[in-house]
């Protein structure tokens, strides 16, 4: 086991622990904060996979922005006291459905891991300008999809503003 492997397992354990914290904590704000730690752990895994750009975008977008939005949303809708806002559901049906879903997901992941061959061949020569390659792909070959996604997001933003502020009645 090399040093890189050790770092990977350390980060993976950290990520899993944080994810468990999200599920197990009875305070929903704590859950949200654990979620941020999970995002950061995932970013660390991206780093060990030699994908710094992806890792940093993960930090910027998920840990920085999405998590804050989640916390804001929680604060807006939270009506119970914070310390018991995220308790386990006593309802059996939902418990069953949730377990089923989680089991299905895990099974799928394991299955995919078993049938695919590990393809860890480097995309480019080692130490190449990964960001440059990524940029060329995004703004070259996949530019239409990229722009379409951008327009979609813009529309979503406009829609959200209209929903939040309301339209003046004429």
């Amino acid at each position: 086991m090399s040093l890189a492997d050790g770092v990977f397992f350390l980060i993976a354990a950290f990520t899993l622990a944080a994810a468990a914290g999200v599920v197990l904590s009875s305070n929903i704000i704590h859950s949200a904060l654990f979620l941020i730690l999970t995002f950061l752990g995932v970013a660390g895994i991206y780093f060990t996979l030699d994908a710094p750009f992806l890792a940093l975008v993960q930090v910027l977008v998920y840990a920085g922005a999405v998590a804050v939005l989640i916390i804001f949303a929680i604060m807006l809708v939270m009506s119970t006291p914070a310390h018991q806002s995220n308790r386990f559901q006593p309802n059996r049906v939902t418990l069953f459905l949730g377990t089923l879903l989680a089991g299905l997901l895990t099974a799928t992941l394991v299955y995919i891991g078993l049938i695919t061959q590990p393809a860890l061949a480097p995309v480019g020569p080692s130490g190449a300008d990964m960001i440059g390659i990524l940029a060329n792909l995004m703004l070259g070959r996949y530019v239409v999809a990229f722009e379409a996604a951008a327009v979609l997001l813009l529309l979503a933003v406009v829609g959200a503003i209209i929903l939040a502020r309301g339209v003046e009645e004429k």
């Binding site: 040093l3 305070n27 704000i29 704590h30 904060l33 941020i36 710094p52 750009f53 940093l56 975008v57 930090v59 910027l60 840990a63 920085g64 922005a65 998590a67 804050v68 916390i71 804001f72 604060m75 914070a82 310390h83 300008d129 990964m130 960001i131 440059g132």
Partner: protein, 345 residues
């Protein structure tokens, strides 16, 4: 002189490996040493900066500033630190204890992490990351969450208001901050800070990208929560905003982190817009120190001159002025690059 620090590091590594230590462990030890140095620099810098800030504010207000402890009062900050260390650590009963306690720690960790990518001299970045600039922006964004944690955990209306303001402000100002740096990235074609510095050997980007510099300067002031944009503290309105309930060392950690951020952002500004460590005669690591301190003096000058902006003005200023300006800057830069390429220069 120029390679003094690098030579010491190399000597250390070769000495350790010569003694039979595996290179991996020697490198790890060197990394630890580097972080130790960064922490020492950070702490020392904060001591100097707090003293400097008081001196600058004193001079601006026709006072002397601290002048009792040591020559020109240089030991005043040390005395204050000792005072803060010995103060009672008060945690109000109704707080969310874990969040309340960990917020200042995360804040300082995030602030120190910024130093990983700053080239503190020729070949003197701790991590020569290919996406260094992006690292700086994205890790800097994490401090938002720490202030939010502090504000929420304090269970105080003033704190929560300060935290909400700070979060709104930081999320808004992250956009012009990143956009303004895009112009530089477009010219150099890289996110690596070392290469950005090397690209400025003829002309500083401050000259090539004045609009971007202005936008970045304003957005950085807002990111740093410094006056006139010091919304999370805003002591005249929010008593002390997100930090209202903190005492003693926990409060000092926030203070420390804010000044650490100030140094980091000023160093980045020097790196991206003022040629980084490049300069004649003196060693590179002295040049970056000089440039960083000059930029910080300007920050202090602004803080002690201007009143605080109102929250909604702040937001509309970001969305209606700074973001359009930074977008225009990107367009102008793009046209300029195409034009120059077309001319075949």
């Amino acid at each position: 002189m120029e390679r003094l620090i690098l030579d010491i590091a190399h000597l250390l590594v070769s000495w350790l490996t010569g003694r039979g230590m595996a290179p991996v462990w020697a490198d790890l030890l060197l990394l630890l040493l580097q972080w130790g140095t960064v922490l020492a620099i950070v702490t020392l810098n904060v001591l100097i900066l707090i003293w400097l800030e008081r001196k600058v504010s004193g001079f601006i207000q026709e006072r002397l500033g601290p002048n009792r402890l040591g020559p020109f009062g240089v030991f005043q900050t040390i005395a204050d630190t000792l005072k803060l260390l010995t103060k009672e650590d008060i945690i109000p009963t109704q707080t969310d204890r874990w969040i309340f306690k960990t917020a200042p720690m995360f804040f300082i960790i995030v602030a120190v992490m910024l130093y990983a990518v700053i080239p503190m001299g020729q070949d003197m970045a701790i991590v020569d990351l290919s996406a260094g600039l992006l690292f700086f922006i994205s890790v800097g964004a994490l401090s938002t969450i720490c202030i939010l944690m502090a504000g929420w955990g304090s269970n105080n209306k003033w704190s929560l208001l300060g935290a909400m303001r700070s979060v709104a402000q930081m999320i808004s100002y992250e956009i012009p901050l990143a956009f303004s740096l895009l112009g530089v990235v477009m010219i150099t074609g890289t996110l690596n800070l070392g290469e950005i510095v090397k690209a400025q050997d003829k002309v500083w980007f401050f000259v090539l990208q004045p609009l971007a510099f202005l936008t970045y300067f304003i957005a950085a002031t807002a990111e740093l929560n410094r006056g006139p944009f010091d919304m999370p503290e805003a002591e005249q309105e929010l008593t002390a905003g997100a930090y209202t309930e903190y005492t003693g060392m926990r409060w000092a950690l926030f203070f420390l982190a804010e000044y650490t951020n100030l140094v980091a952002v000023s160093a980045l500004m020097a790196t991206v817009f003022f040629g980084g460590w490049q300069g004649p005669l003196l060693p590179s690591w002295i040049w970056i120190i000089i440039k960083t301190y000059l930029i910080m003096l300007v920050f202090m000058w602004l803080k002690w001159t201007f009143p605080r902006i109102r929250m909604d003005h702040l937001m509309s200023f970001s969305w209606k002025v700074l973001i359009p300006i930074s977008l225009i800057n990107i367009v102008i830069t793009g046209i300029g690059i195409k034009f120059i390429q077309g001319m075949g220069w």
